[in-house]
Symmetry: C2
Subunit: 259 residues, 2 copies
Amino acid sequence: MSDFLTETAVDEAGVAELSDGWLIGDALNGGYLVAPVLRRIAAEGPFPDPWSVTTHFLRPAGPGPARVEVEPVRAGRTTATSRGRLVRGGTAHVETLAVFGDLTAGRDDAPELVPPAPDLPPPEECPERTEIGQGVDLPIARRLEVRVTPGSAVGGASDRAVMEGWIRFRDGTPPSSLALTLFADAFPPSLHPLVGTVGWVPTIELTVHVRRRPAPGWILARFECDDLQRGRMVETGALWDSTGACVARSRQLGLLLAR
Amino acid sequence: MSDFLTETAVDEAGVAELSDGWLIGDALNGGYLVAPVLRRIAAEGPFPDPWSVTTHFLRPAGPGPARVEVEPVRAGRTTATSRGRLVRGGTAHVETLAVFGDLTAGRDDAPELVPPAPDLPPPEECPERTEIGQGVDLPIARRLEVRVTPGSAVGGASDRAVMEGWIRFRDGTPPSSLALTLFADAFPPSLHPLVGTVGWVPTIELTVHVRRRPAPGWILARFECDDLQRGRMVETGALWDSTGACVARSRQLGLLLAR
């Protein structure tokens, strides 16, 4: 049994039962909200792996039933593009535009460029996300084990807005191409080490490029904000699997709210 | 008179007349195809500036009339999200998901982080895109003056996949927040300096985050591919205006085709 698979399932009527296990404060984690949409796209479409997933977070959502709507846009020989959304009471909470393909396909004869993983202390030397004091309850820690490096853990102690660490499902579910969008949205804000406790940094839009199906084990992650203008930030991330392969890239537009 | 404004206009019936002035080989530039969609979103919605624009390029398009469809997704106090597409004969060529706002609004009291512009040779020391021999006709050079640094110009002569240079409208039209999505898709592939002549590198998906309204003058641009796996590349870019302000960030998923 996998909490992730059970709690992102979509029934034949297109309804997902959103679980309170993925709450951050009063709102469900955004990456969690995308997962049922991606699962329905994968179930209805010809390809198993998300290649590029863009999600606009329209309104926060709490636990309970929600309808998953998916519309094919174009299906080709190697990719299929779909729109999707999570709707409750006639109101969309997330709107997604995604292209799926087969990550194991592609050219074997092309040159390769792979971003190297940063050299991080091992997970057991990194505090859990729950220990770093962001001033919010984290029920999601029952589902995801998120560890951040000592250098990322202390608010306002760094001269760079870099958040690094490790992530895996708490129950031993292996990572998958569908889970990486969730993993890319499950770390504390990269502004935390630079600015200090920043509270909720709402994501307006998140795009995740999945690069490979991840191997079992910990996922290593690095996020950086090098662009914060008028309270609007661009955060850029990358994820690597236990073999050192770069498995996903991410970029989001977020808001640093006044406190 | 501005070619960009004239040739991206959408009439009251929602029809744009796509001009052959923006051709690269037999296909219109992808960023050009997005412009009428963005103009219609801006005309129909409450906000003037794109903040985040994700476009999936479904099929190439040539010159001629095309219908622009726009659907509001959510309109809030500071942002509005919309879907849009360019359709011809019942078939969509691009599908866009975008959030608009007012780039001049936002917090004045938040910390700022601004990516510094690279130090490039001035435009007059940089060859035009038409001079670097990509093996394709570039009618678009009548509309856009694209200059690339000597270090980016020679195919296969660099140990990095970095494309840097300058861009402006040929007819003196000043850059605008709506034009930056086009500018982010108008340079030769960043793989060119590393790999050599790569031909058409189809963009599957492009996301542009517009950060500021650009000042008049040249736009400086830098694009890098540090992630090429099985022929699928992630290219990351940034644009700066003549005052040195970072005005846009971009990221795209593209394909390196076998030749």
